[in-house]
């Protein structure tokens, strides 16, 4: 194996890792937001991502809408679905001190959507093809697929917009305050349902972005979602909860681990490397790698 090793190859592995990891990052940011205000891991996040991948797939196959144009439909739609999910299912359970009800709801949604997708689209793996799916850039002997580059751009753009929202608007500040302490947030007059709704809208909206990102990058099937949610969870743990930047970096780090791990350790071990890193981080730096924690006031 070492005989094949060249500088270009290493760079290629790193580039692949970064390009793929940003999708994990976007999924992790969504998880992080929902966890922030609701204190639950929204396990259905990965399944929602794949649902939106199928939406994009349908828009392409049935209506001929380019995947990146379909973002304009899928993202608003996914945000509305996020609002409806919260208002119809989570509003009651969010009030309870016991978080198990919310967690079980998330798991229930995961199974429901999973099987719904199975009925509608079968278990056959699919992948979208457009005129530019095969387009690659080759700077200095490295292969960079055009679609992955766009996915990277989308990830950075959404992370940037979200950061602006969280830092510069009153509502965004309220979301951050509620993530830190919901009781204190209500004492300054913040309505918990309002911030939870916003967290769900943005979290599921990001699932829409990630879903379209996946569409042309890897073959997907309905079961892909659960693995994806686990990966997002690992990315979140690596990066640290409560920071958009941290979650994105966690995703990229996970992408790198998988890419380099599958080459150096062997394809079948990629996930073992990722989970191993997850355990190590939880053991030695449970607050995450990219978070500077401030002691409680």
């Amino acid at each position: 194996m070492i005989a094949y090793l060249s500088f270009e190859l290493i760079v290629q592995l790193v580039v692949n890792g970064i390009l793929y990891g940003t999708i994990y990052g976007i999924a992790a940011i969504g998880l992080s937001l929902i966890f922030g205000t609701m204190r639950i891991i929204f396990l259905a996040q990965g399944t929602m991502i794949i649902l939106f991948t199928y939406f994009g797939y349908w828009l392409l196959e049935l209506a001929g809408i380019d995947p990146f144009v379909s973002l304009l439909i899928v993202v608003p739609l996914s945000m509305i679905i996020g609002v409806l999910l919260y208002r119809s299912l989570f509003k009651e359970s969010a009030e309870m001190d016991d978080k198990n009800a919310s967690l079980l709801l998330a798991v229930g949604i995961m199974f429901l959507v999973n099987n719904l997708m199975l009925v509608m689209w079968s278990a056959n793996p699919r992948m979208a093809n457009t005129a530019y799916t095969e387009v690659v850039f080759s700077p200095m002997g490295i292969t960079i697929p055009f679609t992955r580059l766009i996915a990277l751009g989308l990830a950075i753009l959404s992370a940037g917009l979200l950061t602006l929202f969280l830092k510069k608007t009153y509502l965004g500040m309220a979301v951050r305050a509620a993530s830190e302490n919901m009781l204190y947030a209500t004492l300054v007059g913040i309505n918990p349902h309002r911030v939870n709704t916003v967290a769900f809208a943005i979290g599921i909206g990001l699932a829409g972005v990630a879903g379209i990102g996946v569409l042309q990058i890897v073959p997907f099937d309905p079961f892909f979602g659960f693995t994806f949610a686990l990966k997002a969870l690992i990315a979140l743990a690596l990066g640290g909860i409560g920071s958009v930047f941290g979650a994105l970096m966690g995703g990229i780090l996970l992408g790198l681990l998988e890419s380099l791990g599958s080459f150096f350790v062997g394809g079948g071990w990629a996930e073992a490397v990722a989970f191993g890193a997850f355990l190590l981080v939880l053991m030695f730096r449970p607050e995450g790698l990219f978070v500077r924690s401030v002691k409680k006031a």
Partner: protein, 243 residues
């Protein structure tokens, strides 16, 4: 009584099966400082939390400006003009000083006056102006308490409730906080104050209630209670009572 701002009428509050408040009634007049004193576990904080809508009473009612508060959620009570600075100060440690202050003006009617409120806060607390971009968690204890009070004022509250504002502060800083409370009151803020520092609290309070195991034990003006031998014995201690 005239100009009654807040009226608590015979409330019972339970934590599970444990009764924390039994038949508690208090009144707060517009423009007054009212102190609640008593030992740990007497139910002082529970009373503030119940007024703030964090806990709901199982019996009795609470009227604020003649409107019933019972059944309202904490954020609704805050939007009505009652702000609680909880024990532990309730700051958002990872947010900056400025962000904490801005969030204080979250209620819609306060947000319209954001800039003037900020200017007023910086005039009252020059130290906060120097530290606007620092995280609240990085401030010292005294500065955090100042920030907590400054943030509460950003809401332009009709009633400011302070839970143990001097807790964990040095005597010097603690004295500053009491002077501040006095100043705020002179400028027109009505204050409901819970304090362990009975001596200081009774000195600045027009009216005070002594609580014991979930009930009101005594009531009177601050100076009356301060002179009361029972109060001196139980809460102040002879050594300090002469000063």
């Amino acid at each position: 009584m005239e100009n009654l701002l807040l009226e608590v009428n015979g409330i019972d509050v339970f934590y599970g099966d444990v009764q924390a408040l039994a038949n508690v009634s208090i009144q707060v007049e517009q423009g007054a400082i009212v102190a609640l004193v008593g030992a740990n576990g007497a139910g002082k904080s529970t009373l503030l939390k119940t007024i703030a809508g964090v806990k709901q009473p199982s019996r009795g009612d609470i009227l604020f400006q003649n409107q019933p508060l019972c059944g309202r959620r904490a954020e609704q009570v805050a939007n009505m003009g009652i702000v609680l600075v909880p024990e532990g100060r309730g700051l958002f440690a990872n947010l900056t000083v400025l962000e904490n202050l801005k969030l204080g003006a979250y209620p819609v009617k306060a947000r319209a006056h954001l800039q003037e409120s900020l200017n007023r806060a910086f005039e009252l607390f020059p130290v906060l102006k120097e530290r606007v971009s620092q995280k609240a968690g990085a401030l010292s204890g005294g500065q955090q308490q100042m920030l907590a009070i400054a943030r509460a004022l950003m809401a332009m509250p009709d009633l400011l409730m302070l839970d143990e504002p001097s807790l964990g502060l040095s005597p010097l800083i603690s004295k500053e906080i009491f002077e501040l409370i006095h100043t705020l009151n002179e400028r027109g803020t009505t204050i409901l104050l819970v304090e362990q520092n009975v001596n200081q609290a009774l000195k600045i309070a027009q009216n005070a209630y002594v609580m014991k195991t979930g009930s009101i034990e005594m009531q009177g003006s601050g100076l009356e209670l301060l002179a009361n031998p029972e109060v001196q014995e139980a809460y102040i201690g002879k050594r300090w009572s002469k000063t």
